[in-house]
């Protein structure tokens, strides 16, 4: 069974085509990096999979089925700056939102929901901040709260949009450890990622994306200088000079 199957996916915003004819299949139980330059359509790719875009063509299947949000199989962790952190609420409340799908319309979260939300907060090391106003949390703490919300949802497949952007080293370590333990439980995780230096260390599967899917597969096979050259074009020459291609690949 495949965690994700995408066939001939194209997405356009207004007149501009962002993704064209993307095809990929990813087996279950993988920790997958989605990488590509800025503006390559990585976030769009995630949003298309999550059924957030009206203007798309193509077929997308999650675990062999068309995605039904109500099934709650997909846990989504948006970019941190996608929301307004001035919203009047505390960390535990945000994590509790991960239970809303299970709670059902109009019903209030149960004791068990609160228990599970608290456990999710604990697993990201944030239990002391449960009652803290979300506006007073640091960027890394906000990111952990978002991850905890997805954990509380208890999904099978997780999609994370740049979870490591602007977080400190300790948070990055916490997050990657959690993602690895999710993988050990047989769950599938997709991460939009920017730091090429950590791709090999963190991810066992890689999707290279720039306007379309250029390559996908086991990281060792895909994450090669030739493929990166194809994905990043001229921009990689600069990186090769500063870092040395051997350091990354």
């Amino acid at each position: 069974m495949y965690a994700l199957t995408v066939e001939n996916l194209s997405v356009a915003y207004d007149k501009k085509i962002v993704l064209e004819n993307a095809n990929v299949t990813v087996p279950t139980g993988r920790l997958v990096a989605i990488i590509g330059p800025n503006g390559a359509g990585k976030s769009t790719f995630l949003k298309a999979i999550l059924n957030q875009l009206p203007n798309k063509v193509g077929k997308i299947e999650i675990l062999g089925k068309l995605f039904d949000p109500k099934s709650l199989v997909v846990g989504y962790v948006p970019q941190r700056n996608a929301v307004d952190w001035d919203f009047p609420t505390n960390a535990l409340d945000i994590v509790l939102m991960g239970r809303y799908g299970h709670t059902g319309l109009f019903k209030r979260p149960s004791k068990q929901d609160k228990q599970l939300a608290m456990e999710a907060l604990e697993s990201v090391g944030m239990q002391e901040f449960a009652e803290r106003s979300i506006g007073q949390l640091s960027g890394g703490q906000q990111q952990r709260v978002f991850l905890a919300r997805a954990l509380a949802q208890n999904a099978t497949i997780y999609f994370l949009d740049e979870p490591f952007a602007g977080v400190d080293a300790a948070t990055e370590k916490t997050i990657i450890d959690i993602l690895k333990s999710l993988k050990a439980q047989g769950k599938s995780i997709f991460v939009v990622h920017h730091d090429l230096q950590t791709v090999k260390e963190y991810f066992d599967y890689t999707i290279l994306l720039n306007k379309t899917i250029l390559a996908s597969g086991v990281t060792e096979d895909v994450f090669t200088p030739q493929q990166l050259q194809k994905t990043y074009g001229g921009k990689l020459f600069m990186m090769q000079e500063t870092l040395g291609a051997n350091n990354i690949c």
């Binding site: 949000p69 996608a82 929301v83 919203f87 009047p88 409340d93 939102m97």
Partner: protein, 290 residues
């Protein structure tokens, strides 16, 4: 002095303020406060046109007219923002002035018509709670109660919808429907208030209680309760004060009461000026000792 009728009117505007405090909080957090302002102004053409078409000053008819143009204005704003490069602030300014302008034109037509002089439609501009009949009041009670109950029902869903609509859609919440219900409820709040508060100042009752409450709390649940209370007190007290002098419109007094509460909150609330100043002094003192 406190006649039975006045008590009922005060109770009515209190309920109205409570309802506006609740829906206003959601629209404030959704950053839609000014859309409410436009929707309130846009009620005027609806009232005037409904009167011209039917020749009657029956509140239900006028309110249906108000609701139609009010909802239309919200739709226009959303349409302009979605299908042009014009940003929300300009779209709101455009729609508000166009609708209100049309409203004033029709109101002038009404005033020059044979029925115009007794129509009392001018009272809808600044609100006149004293002119409310028993039927008007009954309508206000029912409508405000519906608004309050529905808001509490959707509390959890709206909270997620406003904070993170993408996630809400991702777990299968009917995002578009929830947004639409919220808009309908805000329009309902506005048309419920046009008789007592008036089209120009109605948006103040949606905005001021919410922003005052925000200064006191960091939790949505307590913000809603506080905002509802501030709205309720403003409505009741404003009506009482305006009843003490004949000829005084209700809307402006309600807004003055609400803004006094805002000003006090701005000074002495935890997030207010005074506490900021005290914290600064304390911080400096600690610096001197250490």
């Amino acid at each position: 002095m406190l006649s039975g009728n006045l008590l009922w009117v005060m109770l009515g505007t209190m309920l109205l303020g409570t309802a506006a405090g609740i829906t206003g909080t959601f629209s404030f957090l959704q950053k839609q406060s000014l859309v409410g302002d436009a929707a309130a102004h846009a009620a005027l053409p609806g009232i005037a046109i409904a009167f011209l078409l039917t020749g009657q000053k029956d509140l239900p008819i006028l309110i249906v007219g108000a609701a139609i143009t009010s909802a239309l204005s919200v739709y226009c704003i959303q349409w302009i923002v979605a299908f042009s490069k014009i940003k929300a602030d300009a779209a709101i300014g455009l729609v508000l002035t166009v609708f209100f302008g049309i409203g004033v034109v029709f109101l002038t037509v009404v005033n020059h018509s044979p029925l115009g002089n007794q129509s009392g439609l001018n009272d809808f501009i600044f609100g006149k709670a004293a002119t409310m009949t028993k039927v008007d009041l009954a309508w206000l009670f029912i409508s405000a109660t519906i608004i309050i109950i529905v808001s509490l029902l959707f509390y959890k869903e709206w909270k997620l919808l406003i904070f993170d609509p993408v996630y809400a859609r991702g777990i299968g919440l009917p995002v578009e429907a929830l947004k639409a219900i919220l808009t309908v409820l805000i329009v309902l709040t506005i048309v419920t208030g046009i008789q007592s508060v008036g089209v120009i100042l109605m948006s103040a009752l949606l905005i001021i209680p919410a922003v005052s409450a925000r200064l006191w709390t960091i939790k949505l649940s307590s913000m809603l309760i506080l905002s509802a209370a501030i709205g309720g007190i403003s409505g009741m007290l404003g009506t009482f004060i305006s009843s003490m002098r004949t000829g005084l419109s209700t809307g402006p007094i309600i807004v003055l009461v609400a803004s006094s509460i805002f000003f006090i909150s701005y000074l002495i609330s935890p997030a207010g000026r005074l506490n900021k100043y005290l914290r600064k002094i304390q911080f400096r003192k600690q610096g001197e000792v250490g």
